[in-house]
């Protein structure tokens, strides 16, 4: 995999997390893509995670939106865009600019973002453009601005390799930014002294490497880092010379000393160990992510971390500094370009008259919004109460991902005019659109993105967009022209946009801001096409590098700010009715609302249904047994998920993934349970601290199904996952259907396909297998208890000659691979355990040699390590029992 880019490959970047890995794309004969890591890209040097490796499986045109739709009927671009332009014009004419809004996405390329921002803020004249980065990065943006004057990530990825200690705060890097995690694994192999600390209420996969796990109470990060700041001061570990460049140190330390670190629920020795490890290791990088950001005290958490780095001067130098890792491929680009309702463009401020004047001048507009716009949660409030009458949602799925999601659905339903741009009509949000616009997808799009360490890379097309699909910048600019602003939106190519954007960024330096790529303002098309990844700033005088080692900040007086902070717990309080704290997050092999990853059989096999992690004691308390379904209720909503009983979560906490939707598991739209509580500074929702009650879901029947065709489940609980042969389904219901054959025929839409049945009435078991000739079309397995069959084996049978599918297990002489652990090589848990037991394998490497598992992306290495431990424990127990 170390070959550089070949002539038949296209260099691009991955569309998933904010690491921004380079990928090499080669179309395959089946219309898919062969994808490998770009050995020359500075983010990943050839590495890819399980999601990136499976990109090729997600580019089929299955489910693609191929034509504009108005009121659900296909139409052409002229009709669709005239309508959009007309409606927006009419709405702002009648109700003013603020009656319009765009809700966009970190999936947008910088060029798309630039046009969306220019159109809404500069010409429609409202700042009502916000992005799903609000759910992800807003607290970091706010924290950075409060401390540095700008939203600046000081360090670079290389710092992870040159540090002596890495602290992961609220970041399951192993699953959510796997390539960075693999870089750390590699660094640790080179430097065994590299210490790793994980600060997280959950014992995540990232704890595999950890020297110390700090399982603090949800939302108590400010107390922890205040405690650290106070200890730094007490131990005299502050950097006095650096503090010459910092305001507010004294007040911050004073406030920190008042705080009580015991609210973290950590044992004193754990706290002290954390303080000492942090203080005694100058070259410490503190990586933080959603566990910090998604909180009603998110901005304070960020500043609590920044305080500790500022007070010790550990910032902007090799191997140390605070490091925010972003969740989306172009969250950073969106922040730079001004995609948030409270920013203007190029890190300039809307409410700064000089900035406002300069941007108005640059854009040649007199309509530039004079005031901040509505942030995501407020925006959908306004959609709900009718202040916003025309909404355009681009490449994001708020009907699923926003807090209080049911309320968001209701708001969009009540909105006069909703436009949705997406690559598929099969999303919860697209189903609410009046106008649906087919956009080109990753692999077809052409533009730039910025990753978490300020590296700008190209996304290049390797395929032609299907049907009438068009690039987002093109659609947006077209609407701009149709609304009457021809000159302002007269762009022919993304390069045209990039040049204007780079030219505008000159204002950054003019106003003493960090973001400036003006050296690229005259980049020609050829140079743009062959643009190599580069870290900003990119000016005549400056190229990339780190910020703030020199103590020069982007505040009025050029000094950094330390903030006096007071711990505030999550807004929702646990109590008798809602005794548990609901944490939400990502899983290893899925992405956001699965619109792309759910197309990949490999990725869908790892965790094929939504679940809730619950501590054994909490499960016992309410009689939840393994594999039971659990009814989860919060003041905002309720859901049904599969119980995963584990002490990876603290007693009193539960965790559920954020990915499942109305398309894949309607009862598991977890954000329907999350209240729309936000951080007062950043407006970012508190997505990880809802309060809930859990009880067993009273299922009369459980089902498992495999099908080669589309399925139409209709019961209290169902979860659908893609397989190589079609779909697999988990099902359950509170009422047992009268006639299972009729039910199955409806589910699989097989009205008269011949069927094979097995009925064990007294034990409530029914099994049905449908055949065309000897080829299995679909099979359904019903039981009163959770269904015990070889799921991963059965998932391979549809479309094949499988006379014995109805047995539910492989013949005695064929072993069952078990649930997939290694997605890249499709290696099951049973295969791995068997190999460990039979061949006495002792290390992850040995397992890799024997089975390939874990040798590609490495995302499953923590799980393999855990299996090794588990098997050895089992073996010793067996020995002891024998003796």
């Amino acid at each position: 995999m170390t070959l550089p880019c070949q002539s038949d490959e296209t260099r691009s970047t991955c569309p998933y997390c904010g690491v921004g890995c380079g990928v090499l794309l080669k179309p395959d004969p089946q219309g898919g893509l062969i994808v490998r890591g770009d050995p020359e890209h500075p983010a990943n040097f050839g590495r890819l995670c399980s999601k990136g490796s499976a990109l090729g499986e997600t580019v089929s045109h299955e489910g693609r939106l191929l034509a504009p739709q108005v009121g659900g009927a296909d139409t052409d671009w002229d009709r669709a865009l005239d309508l959009v332009a007309e409606k927006f014009k009419q709405t702002i004419a009648e109700h003013g600019p603020d009656s319009a809004a765009f809700y966009v996405s970190g999936q947008l390329l910088t060029e798309d973002y630039y046009i969306a921002n220019k159109l809404m803020k500069g010409f429609i004249g409202s700042a009502n453009i916000d992005t799903n980065s609000r759910l992800c990065m807003a607290s970091t943006v706010a924290g950075h601005k409060r401390a540095f004057g700008t939203d600046t990530v000081p360090g670079t990825y290389e710092d992870l390799e040159t540090a002596d200690q890495i602290v992961l705060v609220g970041s399951n890097l192993a699953w959510c930014h796997p390539v960075l995690y693999q870089r750390i694994v590699a660094a640790r192999d080179k430097n065994p002294d590299l210490k790793i600390i994980v600060v997280d209420p959950r014992r995540t996969a990232s704890c595999d490497l950890a020297d110390l796990h700090v399982p603090l109470r949800v939302g108590t990060d400010v107390a922890l880092f205040n405690g650290l700041l106070a200890e730094i001061a007490s131990q005299g570990a502050t950097d006095q010379s650096y503090l010459a460049h910092v305001n507010g140190a004294v007040a911050a330390i004073k406030a920190a000393r008042i705080g009580d670190p015991n609210v973290t629920g950590l044992a004193p020795e754990t706290l002290q160990r954390f303080y000492d490890m942090w203080i005694n290791t100058p070259k410490t990088v503190t990586v933080f992510s959603q566990g910090v950001n998604q909180s009603s005290a998110g901005a304070d958490k960020v500043n609590a971390i920044l305080n500790c780095h500022l007070v010790t001067g550990r910032i902007g130098t090799k191997g140390c500094g605070p490091f925010s890792v972003t969740g989306q491929p172009n969250a950073m680009g969106g922040r730079e370009v001004g995609g948030l309702a409270n920013m203007l463009a190029c890190h300039l401020d809307i409410d700064n008259p000089a900035h406002h004047a300069a941007v108005s001048e640059f854009w040649q507009t007199d309509r530039l919004s004079p005031k901040l716009g509505l942030k995501a949660v407020d925006m959908f409030e306004a959609v709900g109460d009718g202040r916003i009458k025309a909404l355009w949602v681009i490449h994001t799925n708020p009907a699923v991902s926003m807090p209080d999601a049911d309320k968001v659905v209701a708001a969009m339903k009540s909105c006069d005019f909703v436009v949705v741009s997406d690559i598929t009509a099969a999303t919860d949000t697209a189903r609410l659109a009046d106008v649906l616009l087919p956009a080109s997808a990753w692999g077809e799009k052409d533009g730039t993105v910025t990753n978490s360490d300020r590296t700008i890379s190209r996304q290049r097309p390797a395929m032609v967009a299907p049907g009438q699909a068009r690039a987002d910048w093109d659609i947006l600019a077209d609407v701009g022209r149709r609304m009457g602003w021809d000159a302002a939106f007269d762009f022919k190519t993304p390069a045209d946009i990039f040049r204007e954007y780079a030219d505008m960024s000159r204002l950054g330096t003019v106003f003493g801001k960090d973001f400036d790529i003006s050296a690229l303002s005259d980049i020609d098309n050829a140079a743009y096409d062959s643009f190599e990844p580069q870290r900003w700033p990119i000016t005549a005088t400056r190229q990339g590098g780190r910020f703030f080692a020199d103590g020069q900040f982007f505040t009025a007086d050029g000094k950094a700010n330390m903030l006096p902070l007071t711990y505030r717990g999550p807004v929702a309080k646990t109590g008798k009715r809602y005794p548990l704290r609901l944490n939400t997050g990502r899983i290893r092999d899925q992405w956001h609302t699965m619109t792309r990853t759910a197309l990949s059989p490999r990725l869908s096999a790892h965790l094929a249904e939504p679940f809730i992690e619950i501590h054994p004691d909490d499960a016992d308390a309410v009689g939840i047994k393994p594999s039971m379904l659990v009814q989860v209720k919060s003041p905002a909503g309720s859901g049904i998920l599969r119980a995963m009983i584990t002490d990876r979560v603290r007693q009193g906490d539960v965790f559920a993934p954020m990915h499942w939707t109305g398309e894949t598991a309607p009862s598991a739209r977890i954000d329907a349970l999350v209240p729309s509580v936000v951080d007062p500074v950043s407006g970012q929702p508190e997505s990880k601290a809802a309060v809930v009650a859990v009880t067993p879901f009273k299922a009369e029947w459980y089902g498992f199904a495999v099908s080669s065709g589309e399925v139409g489940p209709n019961c209290d609980y169902w979860a659908r996952a893609k397989t190589r042969t079609g779909y697999r389904l988990e099902l359950a219901g509170a009422v047992t259907p009268k006639d299972w054959e009729a039910e199955a025929r409806r589910l699989f839409n097989l009205p008269d396909t011949p069927v094979q049945t097995m009925i064990d009435a007294s034990s409530g078991k029914a099994r049905l297998a449908f055949y065309e000739g000897s080829v299995l079309k679909a099979a359904l397995f019903i039981s009163k208890a959770p269904v015990a069959v070889m799921r991963d084996y059965l998932a391979t049978l549809p479309t094949t000659d499988a006379p014995h599918a109805i047995a539910g297990v492989s013949p005695a002489d064929q072993p069952d691979p078990g649930p997939v652990v290694c997605s890249c090589f499709n290696v099951g848990i049973n295969t791995i355990v068997a190999a460990i037991e039979a061949d006495g394998l002792m290390s992850v490497e040995a397992v890799g040699k024997a089975l390939q598992a874990g040798t590609n992306c490495g995302s499953c290495r923590p799980e393999i390590a855990d299996l090794l431990v588990k098997v050895r424990e089992a073996q010793t127990q067996a020995k002891e029992a024998a003796e």
Partner: protein, 419 residues
């Protein structure tokens, strides 16, 4: 047949033990009655089914008194009186077998009304196919009746089966399996009337059988009428000799009658109130009796019976007890495409009955579980799919979530820190 098997055991164990004389009312020696049906259908001929011929008897010094009726037994002087003279005995085995039961309805004694018992009956049926457009009626949809019907149909005879119960082979099959069998027989040209009651047999001008009349008045014209509605043990000789006789000659677990020197064997005996019509227990009896006669310890224990039907293309298997009852649970497999039907009957986690139709490959395996009384709880979900899936699957994952994974050892984390 049973005596043949007895002789095999004796000869094998101790050829010198007894000087054997064998009476047989039939002309010929021992042949396998079970194989008459293949002879009838033309898949075998007589020579194929002979188990003991004259040469065999000569070789093993068995005195054959064939084509000779036994008139009486004198248990006091221990003598058997045959048509052609007396034979003294030390030990006597009564294996007089059974006689087909002929329903005493009007016309049952007409020429052309026969049973299905021996080679003569078989040859009569075979002979019928020389007559153009020959028609036959079989009364009785049990094993024997259906084999007779299918055999004649295979020879191009127009056959109708008249059966009084709701489905054919009702003692061995449940209704669904009976239904599949009926359909398969009809596909082979056999007409089957279930739930039909015969009232009388009508004769023609030639005083031979002309038709069978049913209770609804229907007349089924026929040139031959075969009655296959069951058997009656032949007990007259034993009764006259003063032995204990109920429906059959009463024997104990050693096959001994009420007289210590006289033993019973085969379809003529009654053991614990049970009569025997199928071959398996007769062979068991023969083995037990051989041991008894040789002074060895042995005990006849009736096993659960299993039945197969020897009609090519009608693949069925039946074993044990499959009547419905409160305390019984059924697992039913039905493949409408391949026309396979399987029903297992379970009582308190023990398999007690099995009916298989269309695919009987696993019959013996189920039969073993029935006779062994295996606890099938752990195999229950896979049981009906047979030995190929015979593995304990009680540990299978019950959801799509791979089970929890143990805590990595590398982590310093104390439970106290988790309060």
């Amino acid at each position: 047949m049973a005596p043949g098997r007895l002789l095999d055991h004796l000869v094998a164990a101790d050829p010198q033990a007894y000087d054997v004389t064998l009476f047989n009312a039939e002309k010929r020696g021992t042949y396998n009655r079970l194989m008459l049906s293949p002879v009838l259908s033309g898949e075998k001929n007589y020579a194929d089914i002979v188990t003991h011929d004259d040469a065999w008897y000569a070789k093993h010094g068995v005195t054959c008194r064939f084509d000779e009726r036994v008139l009486a037994i004198d248990p006091v002087s221990k003598v058997v009186i045959g048509e052609k003279g007396r034979v003294a005995y030390d030990k006597l085995v009564i294996a007089t077998g059974s006689t087909p039961f002929m329903i005493p309805m009007p016309g049952h004694d007409l020429p052309g009304v026969i049973a299905y018992r021996d080679l003569e009956d078989t040859e009569t049926m075979i002979g019928l196919c020389n007559k153009p457009d020959a028609r036959a009626v079989v009364i009785g949809g049990g094993v024997l009746g259906l084999e007779a019907a299918a055999g004649m149909a295979a020879r191009g005879i127009d056959v109708t089966v008249v059966h009084n119960s709701g489905h054919v082979m009702n003692r061995q099959l449940d209704a669904p399996a009976g239904g599949l069998l009926k359909a398969d027989l009809e596909a082979r040209g056999v007409k089957v009337l279930c739930g039909a009651a015969s009232t009388q047999i009508l004769s023609g001008a030639d005083e031979r059988v002309r038709a069978l009349q049913l209770s609804d008045g229907t007349e089924l014209a026929c040139d031959l009428l075969v009655m296959a509605v069951g058997i009656r043990p032949n007990v007259s000789v034993a009764k006259d000799a003063g032995l204990d006789v109920n429906r059959g000659v009463v024997v104990d677990d050693q096959m001994q009658t009420s007289n210590p020197n006289i033993f019973g064997l085969g379809e003529c005996v009654e053991h614990n109130d049970v009569l025997f019509g199928l071959v398996a227990p007769l062979y068991d009896q023969a083995e037990v009796l051989a041991k008894t006669l040789l002074g060895q310890q042995a005990q006849f224990v009736p096993k659960e019976l299993s039945t197969k039907l020897k009609v090519t293309g009608c693949d069925l298997f039946s074993a044990g007890d499959f009547a419905d009852a409160e305390d019984r649970e059924s697992i039913v497999f039905h493949d409408k495409i391949r026309r396979v039907y399987k029903r297992l009957v379970i009582k308190e986690n023990i398999l007690i009955g099995a009916v298989l139709y269309g695919d009987t490959a696993d019959g013996a395996w189920f039969y073993k579980h029935i006779t062994d009384g295996t606890d099938i709880k752990p195999l229950r979900d896979q049981l009906i799919f047979g030995p190929a899936f015979d593995a304990d699957h009680t540990q299978l994952a019950q959801s799509a979530i791979s089970s929890d994974i143990a805590r990595p050892a590398s982590i310093l984390m104390t439970q106290e820190s988790l309060q």
